[in-house]
Subunit: 416 residues, 2 copies
């Protein structure tokens, strides 16, 4: 089978490259996903999958406790699921890829038009090519390969082409709530071909630290919120240290800070000669694969109640959880799918795969926790270029990932 | 003489109150000083002073090292000096009051229209009434009183009605450079009738602390400018402590922090999940009465070069001096004018005056350092309401100050 798959992929690289280019050229930032999803729908129909193309709007979806989005109207943002029904008796798999991309940012920092899909030296450039349209293409190629080789799978293959991953995962939530779950899932986010059986979740926090205003010349008549912010920041640093000292998972052995707490923004005061009476601090806290969002929130809030300074007894720090959140995801490292993936990786690549835990959240968290579908993150994209100017992917990696994934599906779902 | 002065002032309170009300009603924020200065000119002409009414625009003025303003065009902002020439052989005095006011701010926080000059329970309300049109009125009343009592002074009296004090003192600089200096000066800024023989100067600084951006999930790949800002803030706190430990002037005995360094603004980062690569810090440093701006700048910059963290060796903190600055001002506490003022204060008020050093700068700094005119700050306004909503002054204090100042002029300048 390996030889057949390899041959088929070798013969179809040109077409696959063109398809990836088209996916990239359909720039799909938030609220502009329709064009690319039409393309995906057409391709899935060509592959004779059952296609579900819908606008997420159900009450259960919009009111779900893990619904997290900057909007509630998705009328221009269809979700797509293609189902390849198995003959029965096999295990099912979700192949999940988000189709939304982050904005291109400052165009002057790009060497090529971010929506050109320009190819040079075996690399395709463009916004979203690594995060994660290249990974999606590996999935589509794997399905097409098995189809065209005439394979009859026993288990179902569900291809999720979802919106909103970059803004909190509402697309995958909608797919899961619509019933598109399976025995396991594969999410080809850009991992540099590393295998991530565990994925960190994260949440955003906003703190308000209060002081009392006064003229700078008599600043002792006021209380500086900037001075009060220092022990708050130091408490966050200590909390990060304490939390990371508890991490003993060998998958994190090489990670300097497995569960980082990042302070991303600070802002306060508006006049050099006035004592600032309020400081805003915004940041992100990592949530371990085995933690719940709720427990981490409680631990953080407790720390903020215990910042050492009597001032805070009467002027407590306000804690708000806002914006995006990503649930942590995981699969048992001894899970059968992990074994298959590692074996097939070695077969195709000829080396041992690197197995780590991801430092960021993916839709694998919602698949795991809401869809009850254990998830592995493994994909061909270049981690360092996700969200960056000159985002690119090595096309050869896309084909290698497709080859591995085709063989994984074949093993996992079983065939007649 | 005291009885005559007191009687004359008692008889002229109504007219004086009306004049103050007119001055307040001519709201004179930056670039709107013409109306009030016309009023001042007319009044000075009525008192038969020689009036100089001019637009500051001289090269010497605009290029002066202590020229500090947000503009170079003063075409709508005349300066006024009225001179009462003495008969000769006496000491001259400058009576300096700025005519510009800060903006009224949020009108909802005012109980009355800030430009109404509303009177209630012996208080007049309005923007600028305390800072410092009430003080200016004390000066005008003192001059008018002596004039109408037929006093022939030996020394000259120079009345400065200057623009731009609130924005760096360009009005007083222009007056001084035009030759309007004297043997001593009195500046009736709102001191609650305290006598300030020394006035703190101040400057604004802007710091940029640099880091390296990264994704929050792998924050160890970056360097947080917020974390780097903490030792910077702590160094500023230590510098403030060191500088204040050197202050042994008894005038500062009651002041918790004689020379404060205020951090008024902090801003950096723009995304909760990104490591911030730059933090901006703005603040104000107090300059002691005996210090120069240059020495304080050098001491501050030295401290910023020595923040303890090897990071700064290759990523030095940027220091910028921007916006307004106020020179410190002073007069010897044993100066003859100090003695006269204290004696006359006791005579009029029946109690010892409080003598302190001001925690903020005034035009007394430019008078002292550029005009070589030692300056005392003493005025009837309410310190706490300067720049605040519902700014007010107690009219009785305005008259008391006028009485004291008339007697001081009479003593200092001498009479035929």
């Amino acid at each position: 089978m390996h030889t057949k798959v390899k041959q088929w992929i070798d013969q179809n690289k040109d077409d696959a490259t063109k398809l990836l280019q088209k996916l990239v050229q359909e720039g799909s930032v938030q609220e502009n996903e329709e064009g690319v999803q039409e393309l995906v729908r057409a391709h899935l129909e060509k592959l004779s999958l059952e296609v579900d193309y819908w606008i997420p709007c159900e009450d259960e979806f919009l009111n779900h406790p893990y619904f997290c989005a900057t909007r509630t109207d998705f009328s221009k943002s269809p979700n797509v699921v293609g189902t390849w029904k198995g003959t029965g008796g096999g295990k099912s798999i979700i192949l999940n890829g988000h189709i939304d991309v982050v904005p291109a940012g400052d165009l002057n920092q790009w060497d090529y038009d971010p929506y050109s899909g320009h190819i040079e030296n075996g690399k395709m450039y463009g916004r979203g090519v690594t995060d994660m349209k290249g990974g999606n293409l590996s999935l589509l190629l794997a399905i097409q390969c098995l189809k065209e080789l005439g394979v009859k799978l026993k288990g179902d293959v569900l291809f999720h082409s979802v919106i909103e991953e970059e803004s909190g995962g509402a697309g995958t939530l909608a797919a899961v709530l619509r019933g598109y779950t399976a025995d396991a899932a594969l999410v080809p986010e850009p991992t540099n071909m590393k295998i991530f059986p565990k994925q960190q979740g994260s949440m955003w926090f906003r703190l308000r630290v209060f002081g009392v205003s006064a003229h700078g010349g008599t600043r002792y008549e006021g209380v500086s919120a900037i001075e009060k912010a220092i022990p708050v920041i130091q408490t966050i640093q200590k909390l990060e240290k304490d939390r990371n000292e508890r991490v003993d998972d060998p998958l994190y052995a090489k990670t300097p800070i497995p569960l980082p707490i990042n302070i991303g923004k600070i802002q306060g005061g508006n006049w050099p000669s006035s004592v600032p009476d309020e400081i805003l601090i915004e940041g992100r806290i990592g949530v371990g694969p085995q933690e719940t969002l709720e427990d981490v929130k409680a631990e953080f809030e407790e720390a903020m109640r215990n910042v050492e300074d009597v001032w805070f007894e009467k002027h407590p720090i306000q804690v708000e959880w806002f914006g995006a959140q990503w649930l942590p995801g995981s699969i048992d490292v001894e899970h059968e799918l992990m074994g298959i993936l590692q074996d097939r990786y070695k077969e195709v690549i000829g080396a041992e795969p690197e197995i780590e835990a991801s430092p960021w959240g993916t839709d694998g968290g919602l698949l795991t926790q809401v869809g009850n579908t254990p998830s592995i993150v493994f994909g061909p994209g270049v981690t360092a270029y996700a969200h960056y100017p000159n985002e690119y992917i090595e096309l050869e990696k896309v084909f290698q990932a497709a080859e591995i994934i085709a063989l994984v599906i074949y093993d996992w779902c079983g065939s007649e």
